[in-house]
Amino acid sequence: MLRKNNIWIFFVILFTGCLLLNIDSFALDKKKKELAPLPPPPIPKDNPMTPEKIELGKKLFFDRRLSGDGTTSCASCHDPEKAFTDGAEISLSYPTTRNFRNAPTLINTAYAKTQFWDGRAKTLEEQAEFPVMSPFEMNQNLDFVEEEIRIVPEYREAFKKIFGQEVNIKLIAKAIAAFERTLISKNAPIDRYLKGDKNALSEEAKKGLEIFKGKGKCIECHYGPYLSDQKFHALMVPENPKYANEDKFIVTRRYIAKINKFPDYMNVKDDLGRYFKTKKKQDYKAFKTPTLREVAKTAPYMHNGIFKTLDEVIDFFNKGGGQGNKALKPLNLSLDEKKALKTFLVEALSGEDLKIKPPEIP
């Protein structure tokens, strides 16, 4: 009898524990799904910011030596004049090749927990090397670029002064990352509004905010200061028909599948997103939730730039996403609601324009 009671007590404790855990995680989840003003960006302990390092990173960011043929710098696809995108559906490519994804903005990328649409890099430092060595982006050799930078006396001196070391690719990446962490939205109306300035948003934008948080369900994935859950979702965005059957595009997609050791890489028909990297079922055609900050300036949208306007994006979500997706359901937003939501996205989330003047390259 005593033993039976003990078992009951055990189950009651277990059940209560689970319940408390659930309530706790639910509360945590609820708490997370709020909008918040931008705090100062997180700075990694192993790459502290200094004005000299930021300036060096800025020079390297604009330096075409980082590409194999000397025609492309980071700024080519992350152009300050285009909100640090290139404004193209599919990002610009190394001559005679084709990229296969859209160039995301670098504004506020300091807050991202992973980099790239598929999250394959965890830090900006790690990210910086990828496009430099990618055959369809900058097509440069990392050992070679070290020497190309090291041969420039001004660079060599700067690296010694800032890092106390000779030029190497890891330090090049650190300097670029330090510069990129300065690209932050400033004084966006949403930040002023969240800090208490109730006049920072127009009435239409306030209505849009309510839709964002309510019927539109945008906040389910776009929350926190960065307006992203930093997760990966398979919304089944259609393939971009302009490129889907183009040879150069197919070459790049196959190449990506191949280097990720995808078994049937020659027959990959779609961009499988994070699945290429993880091979996990839940990552099949999943892409990172992008920030919505500065979204009015960063068209075209989605990982393949298939939507030219915010209206098209809102319509996509309103109809419940792409064919076969399990993440979204139709929203049934009226025309007025869609209009208000767009007003919120455009008006509230746009900070002051970042003025970055290209530096003198040594």
Binding site: T71, S76, S93, P95
Partner: protein
Amino acid sequence: MKLVIKFFPYKYRDYARIAAEAAVEAWRQGKFKEMHNLLIKKSPRLDRESLIQYARDLNLDVEKFTKAIDNFEGADIIERDLKLAKDLDLYVTPAFYINGLKVLGVRDYDYFKAIIMEELKNVKKK
């Protein structure tokens, strides 16, 4: 509307420079547009023999054409345009200026259409 084409042969392609020479000579013989379109259509088959065949296809004076591309007779024009690109800090090809708006890299029809329609609207307003 006015379209001006400048030469910017990509320095790391074997036939870019000779193809530019072919276009200059075709221009001198009054068939720049035809040669330009043919070069884009036939790229990357832009070796000397192919270019001579294209000149033949366009009914150009083939002897004059061959002499021109072999002797780099278009060099003054090509070098002038390369200098202009350098002065404008242009390294990417193709590069475009639409009423002063710089557009770099390969873009699709819709991209240009949107810009040009916007510019036309501004012209009408003026």
